[in-house]
């Protein structure tokens, strides 16, 4: 028992992928900057597919510009496109930050992106004046699509943002840098809520909560151009060099913490997503360690309410039920640990990445939960489909991309992660932290009740 059985992909083909390419992660990261604008240096599909995906999941606009590479760029390079793209964007949108996101095309063509950015800065200054131009920061983010996946792209982007923008000062700012990973607005709000209960001010690297979940209030909106509310202000990004420490809540996002640690001797900690009790406890302890602030009764009462819910429902409805979890390497591992905390069996965990942190984190879960776990590693949804036909489970947990599979398999799906487009509100509901755990307890339990208890409905009488 308690073995981790790593099952690698035997095919060369990828069938029904559960990862996508690097640029998405970078676009997500830049979208979390106040008046931050991603400029994808590539074909139109590279931005349009992602905007489509964000719109579908967040039900919000996602402003992402593109340099529209075409045949001429393939032959002569993307110089003109990038320089004019930056210039047009700067002049028309007056952003605080532009994040240049490369793609397979611009990387294969071999564009001198750094050089082009320099030229663009000069041209922008010519057009808008030195002062206005200097206010617009440009971050170069290399995200070759043929290397790894969106999580790497996110990691690269956060590192590039930090490396480009951070400005050390003589004094600490008393704040904590938090790298949330590719998560939902609800998750980031929950992180901020926990910090506030601990009396800690955070610098989110970056904060997509408001940009991807903005009020509809035309009378108060930024117009001409319209910007979604919120995001991490440039000043905070610059200030991140002066924080007490950096906590990354995504096991794949470790480059920026390392860079900050190296440059500014700032302590850092990288973990899987703080999903469930132990992971959140660990996050809270790290906050305490880095800031010296006490763990307040308020936050422990919130914790106690989840524990209460778990005591009331986990053994009664959930215990021993087998779960398949798929998606994001950090979220899946967090979810696996949490379903084990609910007495369920994380029978199979499937991710598209091939990084060792996924395996290491899962080994810990297998040991703790005293159950064998099958890890589909560097795999795809087809592999999970085939696996589940042979090894049925009681519940699937993952994105909407598994919905038709779940339906065909007759297994109920609890929606978690990105993207969720076939139901509403999931982007607002945290899965992170104690309140996230509470949502999950309720949501998972109700899914189980729907599927397995309604057939004997008298059982639900009390």
């Amino acid at each position: 028992m308690s073995e981790l059985n790593v099952i690698k992909k035997e095919r060369t083909a990828v069938i029904n992928p559960i990862v996508t390419c690097q640029p998405l992660g970078a676009m997500y990261a830049v979208s979390g900057i106040e008046r931050g604008m991603p400029l994808v240096h590539g074909s139109q599909g590279c931005s349009t597919f992602v905007r489509y995906g964000f719109a579908r999941h967040f039900r919000e606009p996602a402003d992402i510009a593109v340099t529209s590479l075409h045949e001429d760029a393939a032959v002569f390079g993307g110089r003109k496109n990038l320089i004019s793209g930056l210039g047009n964007l700067a002049a028309r949108f007056k952003p605080d930050v532009m994040g240049v996101v490369t793609t397979c095309s611009s990387e294969i063509i071999g564009d001198d992106v750094a050089g082009f950015i320099k030229t663009a800065k000069v041209e922008i200054a010519k057009k808008m004046g030195e002062e206005a131009a200097n206010k617009i920061k440009i971050v170069q983010i290399n995200t070759p699509s043929f290397v790894e996946h969106q999580f790497k792209g996110y990691d690269n982007a956060i590192k590039a943002i930090v490396d480009t923008l951070a400005e050390p000062k003589d004094e600490e700012n008393g704040k904590l840098n938090i790298i949330p990973g590719i998560v939902n607005p609800g998750d980031i709000r929950e992180i901020k809520h926990m910090l506030s209960l601990m009396g800690v001010e955070g610098i989110l690297l970056t904060d997509t909560s408001d940009p991807f979940d903005s009020p509809l209030r035309p009378s108060k909106a930024d117009k001409n151009p319209y910007y979604q509310k919120g995001g991490t202000p440039l000043a905070d990004l610059q200030d991140c060099a002066n924080s007490l420490g950096t906590i990354s809540l995504a096991n794949y996002a470790n480059s920026a913490p390392a860079s900050l640690e190296k440059k500014y001797n700032m302590p850092s900690k990288v973990s899987e997503a703080p999903i469930g009790i132990q992971n959140t406890d660990s996050f809270i302890r790290t906050v305490k360690k880095f800031t010296g602030n006490d763990v307040t009764d308020e936050i422990l009462d919130e914790r106690g309410i989840v524990i209460d819910a778990m005591a009331d429902v986990a053994s009664r409805y959930l215990f021993g039920r087998k779960v398949a979890i798929y998606g994001d390497p950090s979220i899946t591992v967090g979810m696996a640990r949490f379903v084990a905390e609910l007495g369920m069996i994380p029978k199979v965990v499937c991710t598209g990445v091939k990084n060792e942190y996924f395996v290491n984190d899962l080994k810990k879960v297998a040991k703790e939960s005293d159950e064998d776990i099958d890890a589909l590693f560097g795999q795809d949804l087809r592999a999970l489909d085939v696996y589940l036909k042979e090894n049925p489970v009681d519940l699937m947990i993952g994105s909407s991309d598994g919905r038709l599979m779940a339906k065909d398999l007759g297994i109920p799906l609890y929606r978690v992660g990105y993207p969720v487009y076939d139901r509403v509100g999931y982007q607002r509901r945290p899965i992170i932290g104690y309140n996230g755990a509470l949502n999950l307890v309720d949501g998972i339990t109700n899914t189980i009740l729907d599927k397995y208890y309604e057939t004997q409905d008298w059982k639900l009488q009390q």
């Binding site: 095919r11 083909a13 529209s68 028309r92 095309s105 319209y226």
Partner: protein
Amino acid sequence: MPFCLLDVDKDIPEREQHIYIKDSKEPKGHCKQRCNTNTIPGSMTERGCAFAGVKGVITGAIKDVLHVVHSPVGCTAYGNGTTKRYPTRPEMPDGSVFPVENFNLKHIVGTDLTESDVVFGGMNKLKKVIREASKEFPFVNAIYVYATCTTGLIGDDLDAVCKEMQAELGKDVVAFNAPGFAGPTQSKGHHVGNYTIFEKLVGTKEPPKTTDYDINLIGEYNIDGDYWVLEKYFEDMGINVLSKFTGDATHGELCWMHKAKLSLVRCQRSATYVAKLIEEKYGVPYLKVDFFGPEYCAENLRAVGKYFGKEIEAEAVIKKEMEKIQPELDFYKSKLQGKKIWISAGGPKSWHLSKPIEQYLGMDVVALSGLFEHEDGYEKMQERAKDGTIIIDDPNTLEMEEVVEKYQPEIVLGGIKEKYFFHKLGVPSVMIHSYENGPYIGFEGFVNMARDIYTAIYNPAWKLMEFEEEEPGDSNE
């Protein structure tokens, strides 16, 4: 001066030629509006790429083929499930049943290219992947293979690979060479799709049976069940849809399109090419048809009826369907009369819909636009627009904001990417590419669209948008 430079375009004055304001005093009634050219970099376009054009629009609607995307994982991921809503039924033309329902929405294969493939070329990997795919889904009737930016740039020869694999696997393996960067818009992908299907497939198979009333229905992708609406009408008229291109179609249907008596071209932007080619080579004539809105739908059913000597049947269908929808049409017209609308479809729907929306719903079309429309399309938009209507090629988000401000549309028909942006400006938006509660075609489809427009405009959220500091008079005080 019919062209218009919007305030937000002062830094990109080239845009002036793309934006036209209808003026019937124009000598020719229309004006060569610039279109189908590359988007200005950094201007936040709504356009997609050529790969999206071929897989997302043309081939993704076919029920029994497997798609292999030769790309890094991203393009494969984005190609999965289709961005449009293309349901398929498992029934096959020979009466058999395809083993997976909505197979086209469920599976996609990719070569997952990595750095070393980029350096050393991906052709061997592609072969391996096609073999694996064929083994994984042995029941598919063909495998379609797609070039992408990466494989376009590294120069892999997809045709050679597909030829070899076709011989090896004994089923059609077809390369679609429309890498993302090809052409200014997804329209390039439509084009490649048409030519590829014509050249490699049409004429290569024979249908299980034919009738004297066989048609090709071209450019009909069964968005949210559109085709199933039209199918009923044709059935009622005794006309047999021999081949669809490509909604709810089978691979085989594409191969025997040469055997139809007539081709109907539904989406004239994405699919006229193939109809022309079939006419040229096989002598199958084609009609451009329009089934959006009751009048066009009736007219075109009549035209088809006339062609086949089925005038009476056509009239019967029209009468029956009109009777069904008239009361609802009347209701929606009473609710929508005078409301300002902006139709921002990919291309043809902007001109298909402008008249019916005016005529049957009484709405005021204040703006039209297209993402990938060509000159002929803009001509039609111009013709059908009333004076003062703004017509925009490839509108970008800043322009959209200005148009909303200046033209004050009360509803925009647009895409999902723009939908939530318009909402934030306080303007409802209905998805016209893949619909909200479709289908939108035919008689009943038009009513569905009217209902979606109606519900969007009358969504009480718009009236509740701003907090009132004062208690309204008739309230709970």
